[in-house]
């Protein structure tokens, strides 16, 4: 037995989920961009044929760019009163129409946010999030998921994975309990067929052998290559803030005499201030050192610590980079070197 959903019914699914009180996050237009948006109307959801990747990943909906994690005010007699925002009342949410690379970022983010301290803000949102991804039937210019250890139809992180078939239909692969519950709850929109019809999945040849990256990184902390490739890095956060797996944040207090808020804000290792110590010393004093950190974190440290690389090969970092610093090319160069 296989499960099928039509493009028409996928839109209907978004409509019914909105009606049922879900926050529905889908690729939609925002001015001239395609972005992940909490849509108000199912009509806003773009047909899957009209985009490959929205300009940033949907991580903002589990890890907001700016989030209050503690409120404080001065009560009677100047005594501080603390209050932690409660996310229990947040609606369940569903990401519809993301690509498998973005979905695969969730199991990666789970590792860091659930490591020495379980981040309640991340996990509250994560638990309430269902992911219905659509496998890519064509690859974008900058895509390199197959080099990063994934594929255009990877299942990691998805609750339901849709694959394009002929005639505006999608074969639905239900992958988790969350996915099963959705497929049951909105069962009238899915159709059962005898066997899975032929599906269209993009072919994408790997650009490099990812297994060769870490052995070189292990031995070349001080290699001149870093300056050669990264002297041009501008030191902005465009790559990190579009990246599905970048997860660094800064904590700041904003308030006045009456009270205030402690915020958890996105941060980036590209920034000179990121590692600057209170003493004024900065252990990563130049841009090539910061870029090296970015690569080492994703392809060495994360792998050593959690058994996963912090890159899914979406290629957004390169596409968004103001100086077109090409991570795929850098990795290709590294993979071609003798460790």
């Amino acid at each position: 037995m296989a499960t099928i959903i039509t493009a028409e019914n996928l839109k209907q699914l978004a409509r019914e989920m909105l009606k049922a009180g879900y926050r529905v996050i889908a690729p939609a237009k925002q001015a001239d961009l395609v972005v992940f948006k909490a849509i108000k109307d199912a009509q806003e959801m773009l047909p899957e044929s009209e985009y490959i990747l929205p300009q940033a990943s949907f991580k903002e909906f589990v890890f907001p760019r700016c989030e209050c994690i503690l409120r404080y005010r001065f009560g009677e007699g100047g005594k501080p009163v603390f209050e932690s925002p409660n996310l229990d009342g947040e609606p369940p949410q569903a990401v519809i129409g993301c690509r498998p690379c973005d979905a695969a970022s969730l199991p990666i983010l789970d590792k860091i946010f659930g490591w020495d301290y379980v981040d309640p803000f991340y996990f509250k949102r994560r638990e309430k999030t269902a992911v219905i991804s659509v496998a890519c039937s064509r690859a974008g210019e900058g895509c390199f998921c197959t080099s990063a250890g994934y594929a255009p139809d990877s299942t990691a992180g998805s609750d339901i994975l849709l694959k394009k078939c002929a005639g505006g239909k999608y074969a639905a692969e239900v992958l988790s309990d969350k996915g099963r519950q959705l497929a049951e709850k909105f069962g009238s929109l899915f159709e059962k067929v005898e066997a899975t019809p032929p599906v269209e999945v993009a072919g994408l040849n790997p650009a490099f052998d990812v297994e060769k990256i870490k052995p070189w990184l292990d031995k070349h902390f001080d290699d001149p290559l870093w300056l050669e490739i990264a002297a041009r890095c501008m030191g902005c956060g465009t790559c990190a803030y579009g990246c599905p797996t970048c997860h660094c944040f800064d904590m700041v207090d904003e308030g006045d005499l009456a009270g205030g808020c402690r915020l958890k804000n996105w941060d980036t290792c590209s920034s000179a201030l990121f590692t600057k110590h209170g003493s004024g010393h900065n252990p990563r004093s130049s841009q090539e050192q910061r870029y090296r950190q970015r690569v080492l974190h994703k392809f060495k440290y994360y792998l050593e610590k959690f058994g996963l690389r912090a890159c899914v090969g979406c290629g957004r970092c390169t596409a968004r980079c103001p100086v077109n610093l090409d991570l795929r090319g850098v990795l290709q160069t590294i993979a071609g070197k003798q460790a």
Binding site: G235, T238, V323
Partner: protein
Amino acid sequence: MAEAVEELRALARDLLAKGTVQVFVGYGKGASPGRTAPLIITSADRAAELVWDKHCLNNLAVYLTRSEVTKRGKVGIVVKGCDARAVTGLLQEGQVARENVVIVGMSCDGMGEPLLEACGRCDVHTPAGKDADAHHLACDYVIGKAAVPDAQKEDEGAEYADVARIEALPLAERWAFWQEQFGRCVRCYACRQVCPLCYCKRCAVEKNEPQWLATSAHTAGNFAWHVIRAMHLAGRCVGCGACERACPQHIPLSLLNKKMAKAVLQHFKYRAGNDPTAAPAVKTFELSDENDYFR
């Protein structure tokens, strides 16, 4: 363009080989068709990697204040006529010493496919060379001659028509417009990082004793950031548009910059980056100024 690129490569090869410069900044092949990427080379045998085509959009002047480049020695740099204005600004503000840089001006018929809107209004298709008068930045070398004639000087009305459109909106609509625009900002600071004139080692937004500006990407914090950024560039922004092109959220930053440029032109009769001998508008005052807060 094919001849120009060969001339450029030969020149860069020569400058590096003879040790006239130790590092050369130009354009190289991008990761995808339709893009180039800044190329920073230190050896003559890499000069063949230099590229010159319709996609050389980046304003490379930003690298003149970057230690990753300058620590390698004297810099040779490729500029278009518009980029030369940023170099002029850096010279005027004492950020770059003229003798420490070899400037290679590239004649340019306009960049982008389709042509960038700003290129349609360009009046510096061919950068000024060694024979330039003192009121123009003299490039050490100029390669090629632009085939496109320089645009006629527009009147201020035409030049600032897009600013006027926003100015004409009722206050509430203007507020709503910018709230929507700034609401998108993620505070990646790409606008600041790619700006040749944003060279401060420590930006106002990074000063936290006291915290002058909210660093959070909420709408109020973003308003503060973008207004301060525009104000700090008033009379200094040369209008290259690098900030707007770098913005991943497509915020129309040029509108803000142009609003400032318009005010500076009206009140001080000054255009940033045009004349290396001119006193920058925000770096000078006269006792005869009509406003008494100067005295």
